[in-house]
Symmetry: C2
Subunit: 350 residues, 2 copies
């Protein structure tokens, strides 16, 4: 790092001892979803008026009929913040996750996958009501993913599920914007933010999706202003949040509201704005975009890992780019390569 480059002040503002005593680098709260991933061509999307690259919510009937029409699929655990937490675990971070599944086979898949990574996960499965959430992901030949989410049991998350001990033991609490889509889950979200503040954890928030921002703009703005220390967003999300014409105006607005905004721009890399300074990070080169699912989630994983380890901001961003590129290079949003080894091979970690 060149002398004078921006340092991460997010943790440096607090006494070191406080953070050293924390058991978990990051505790994530989000939708607990199984991804059902199939390839399709562009005509399949346009015939069904599906907006390429975006997420839409669907009900059980829509999910059944779209699934019927889709091609053969692969199932993997997903969920935006859950993907980030899986990425953090791959970097060697200690993590926890809170999110609701049902007591069914897909719920078993989700629980297995997250626990097998050494992540603390103890949210009780729902025994009545909707089945485990699923996201029907259509991957076009350009690698872009179009997501159709049936929220199922994940919206049964309530404030009572937010374990104060888990939150109290976290350096960072990472919240999924998608949870704002249902009121019960939103209350869980606010409870988590409150507990995080109480225990001195930093609150990071993912805006998740421009349509999601559109649906909940005022709530998000209030949270970014009052509850969140760090906001993760892509270009469309942050300009939607502040209703600005340009990316830089939006970045500027974000900086008025919170300590740090981490703004991703696909192949144009990312911009970190913090303490009045901006740090530009290039994207990692990818030989072929196989499936963009999870690129943003994994960027956040690398970035938060760097923050939790008090690395320079530029390194945090480069770890994010590295993890995003790994996610893009294969089908599915969870990392398939040991990210700490990958980061070492690139000289980003000792």
């Amino acid at each position: 790092m060149p002398a004078g480059a921006p340092q991460c002040r997010i943790l440096n503002g607090r006494p070191n001892e406080d953070m050293a005593a924390k058991t978990y680098d990051v505790v994530g709260i989000g939708n607990a979803i199984v991804d059902i991933i199939a390839r399709c061509d562009d005509a399949f999307l346009s015939k069904r008026d599906l907006d390429k690259g975006f997420m839409r919510l669907i009900d059980a009937d829509d999910a059944a009929s779209l699934y019927e029409e889709m091609g053969p699929a692969t199932e993997r655990s997903g969920g935006s913040v859950a993907n980030s937490i899986a990425g953090l675990a791959s970097f060697g971070a200690s993590c926890g996750f809170i999110g609701r599944v049902a007591a069914d086979q897909f719920g078993g898949i989700f629980r297995h996958d997250i626990r097998s990574l050494g992540i603390e996960y103890a949210t009780e499965p729902a025994v009545d009501g909707e089945p485990t959430a699923r996201c029907l992901i259509l991957v076009t030949p350009d690698g872009e993913r179009t997501m159709n989410t049936f929220l199922g049991a994940s919206v049964d998350l309530t404030a009572a599920d937010i374990d104060p001990h888990l939150i109290g033991a976290a350096k960072f609490v990472y919240l999924e914007g998608y949870l704002f889509d249902k009121d019960a889950a939103k209350s869980a979200f606010h409870e988590a933010a409150r507990l995080a503040k109480e225990s001195g954890a930093k609150v990071a928030l993912s805006l998740s999706d421009p349509f999601c921002v559109d649906r909940h703009r005022e709530d998000f703005r209030a949270l970014v202003k009052d509850g969140a220390d760090i906001v993760f967003a892509n270009e469309k999300e942050i300009t939607s949040l502040y209703e600005t014409n340009t990316f830089l105006e939006a970045a500027d607005a974000a900086l008025q509201d919170c300590e740090m905004a981490v703004l991703t721009r696909s192949e144009a890399g990312s911009l970190i704005v913090s303490n009045g300074e901006a740090t530009e990070i290039p994207a990692d080169p990818v030989s072929q975009v196989v499936d963009a699912t999870g690129a943003g989630d994994l960027y956040a994983a690398g970035f938060l890992y760097g923050l939790a380890r008090r690395l320079p901001l530029e390194t945090c961003g480069r770890l994010g780019s590295l993890a995003a590129a790994e996610a893009i290079s294969h089908i599915g949003a969870r990392p398939e390569t040991d990210l700490v080894e990958l980061a070492k091979s690139r000289g980003l970690l000792p």
Copy 2:
């Protein structure tokens, strides 16, 4: 093809009109299984006394405890003959499949995946009893797969499930040796062979696994001698079947018993013995063995596609090698590339 090279006589022995009237190129009968695929190192296998590269049967308790210990996984439809049928569909063949799932989420995955390929599949799901079969597949860094199969609902297949209309409309009926592992399924198997013979369909049999051959040697020998026209086996399976010391002795013995033996030897390619002649087929080069799961199943897919299209034997074998190489190049046993396009690009199909 050089002049004088062996032609496929399997279909040529029958009047063309008979076969032209058949709706399905191949109808497969096998276990209906969802694969749960995770990576592991060699130490994970040796600690649990698991024989690398083989399949073992496990009960529900073993399945639960092994799953608990496994790393994060990907779920995909599997089953040996079901994989072959999926491969055949990717080549553009018209196919049917018979195999039992339960009325649960994994059963829904299996049914969706096979139907979405345009394959006729109408076996009623079991509503009581065991859940859908699953195979816990451990993939080591060398790409070798070690399979642990909980047969679940797939063993509830009975003779009553063998739809005579489907069998009657098939050019080839392809039977999975693994079905021999349970008596009820075995009776379904014999019923299918009987119906196939009655309707003039050729019967192809996969020996599936050397341990499976070991468990049912006499039954397999009787079927190869009396019921099967074509046998698919790898080197270990065929030498186990005939208890010979060498591969060539086993190939010779097979030729006494059935019209054609198609014998695969991993990277050494394959040998087709038919009508007293042997045709050697090289393996397709693979830049990296990612996951060997399904290599044999997809070889059979390519080969049977060639037979059903009355292509020269050498082309049948090359289509097998091509499909096997595709399967090896990614995680999971079902093809991820359009095999007919791939074959065209290699000049194997017009």
